[in-house]
Subunit: 239 residues, 2 copies
């Protein structure tokens, strides 16, 4: 049984301001919560059905009624368990050398950001620098769509114009008039900049792009989804 | 001014059953509606702000109040115009020869389906065979996330097991234990099967996959998003 105040508090964590002040976020579902329990993330509290709680080592507040879970969940089909988790404190600065770093110039859609994080993780990329106007990594839609990759990929929020001005490795950018991905050489270190969904890479960032790259298309779509473009470019740059 | 009955009717079109009986669907936003007006699709009715209606050749029912638009829209930020459009009648059968055909084994997420359609369009693929349990192409979330590609890409709903049993071109499938995309030869005709988000390609479909292909990953994500995987594989098969 969850109290009304607890329900209110959990719902308030869906708002960035409250979330950031409390330095917490919400993660849902059996798979993601299990992964978090087996990670360095600190779980503050778990709400779960009897079924989940019966098999878990972590003590949970039992949810007896489906409508309680519906109230605290942000999923269309709530799945047994919801965890309140401490946000990761990024103690070190991102390192560029011998690594690929993704730079996001203001990705707006939470699903896109989550999918980009998941794609980065697939290709072994563990650091993302997001311009300060990028969607919040602790937005619950982002958390869910990373499918667990939020555990392994670090996202720093920075003024990317300033950050890129100090970069000492090759800077690639996804643009419409660059070199074909089929002709780029494979890289082991560098920065890949991905633009905003509607504006692309903004004009103040363009001067930093030393290697513009393009995904040739023979059809009529105007552009690719940002996460799809990220995946395609990474698969060609890193193979 | 829209009547209450009209609002109710439009809202009912967000349900597949009503939509299919009426053979209609809803499309929203300036860009998409403009593209539809310049396409073979038949627009049945348009609801728009004065601003949009003032510049358009198509007669619109004027929306005077924002809350009216909010009521009929399915977008979090409604954008000036909403069209009721006739569903495309697919008169011909899909042709396999000299083409790439995508086959979807039950993609569930509307955003994924829309993004796959958009990605197909980017690579010049115009035909998709979706198993009957795939999300509905006329679901408004699918329509919106195709970003206009719904105009150019045809989606047939079929029992794909039966359909694949008659296929006469090479059948590729995205699997975890196939040949690396970096080693596959480029193709000009063939079928690419993409699996369901959680189950992958189902066991009854596996016997048809003559060329299993895999996207090697060096990280720790368990899988890639279905649309991202589609984009990566297409970019390597078609380059």
């Amino acid at each position: 049984m969850i109290s009304k105040n607890e329900i209110k508090y959990i719902q308030s964590l869906y708002h960035k301001k409250v979330r950031d002040e409390a330095e917490l976020f919400i993660a849902e579902g059996i798979k993601l919560v299990d992964e978090l329990l087996n990670s360095p993330f600190v779980i503050r509290k778990i709400y779960a059905t009897k079924e989940w709680a019966g098999t878990a080592a972590f003590p949970a507040t039992i949810i007896t009624e489906q409508h309680e879970l519906d109230k605290i969940s942000n999923l269309s089909t709530p799945n047994q368990v919801l965890a309140i988790v401490e946000q990761k404190k990024l103690t070190h600065q991102p390192i560029e050398k011998n690594k690929i770093t993704l730079v996001l110039d203001g990705i707006q859609d939470p699903g896109n950001l989550g999918t980009i994080i998941r794609t980065a993780d697939w290709f072994g990329i563990t650091q993302i620098i997001a311009n300060t106007d990028t969607a919040d990594v602790y937005n619950s839609k982002v958390v869910q769509s990373t499918m667990g990759s939020i555990i392994r990929v670090n996202v720093w929020y920075k003024d990317i114009e300033q950050w890129l001005s100090t970069a000492s490795v090759p800077v690639f950018g996804a643009l419409l008039n660059g070199q074909s991905i089929y002709k780029t050489t494979k890289i082991k270190e560098g920065i890949l900049v991905i633009g905003n969904e509607s504006k692309g890479i903004r004009s103040n960032i363009l001067p930093f792009i030393k290697h513009a790259i393009t995904i040739p298309g023979s059809g009529h779509a105007e552009s690719l989804n940002a996460a799809v473009a990220t995946g395609i470019i990474l698969s060609h740059l890193l193979q």
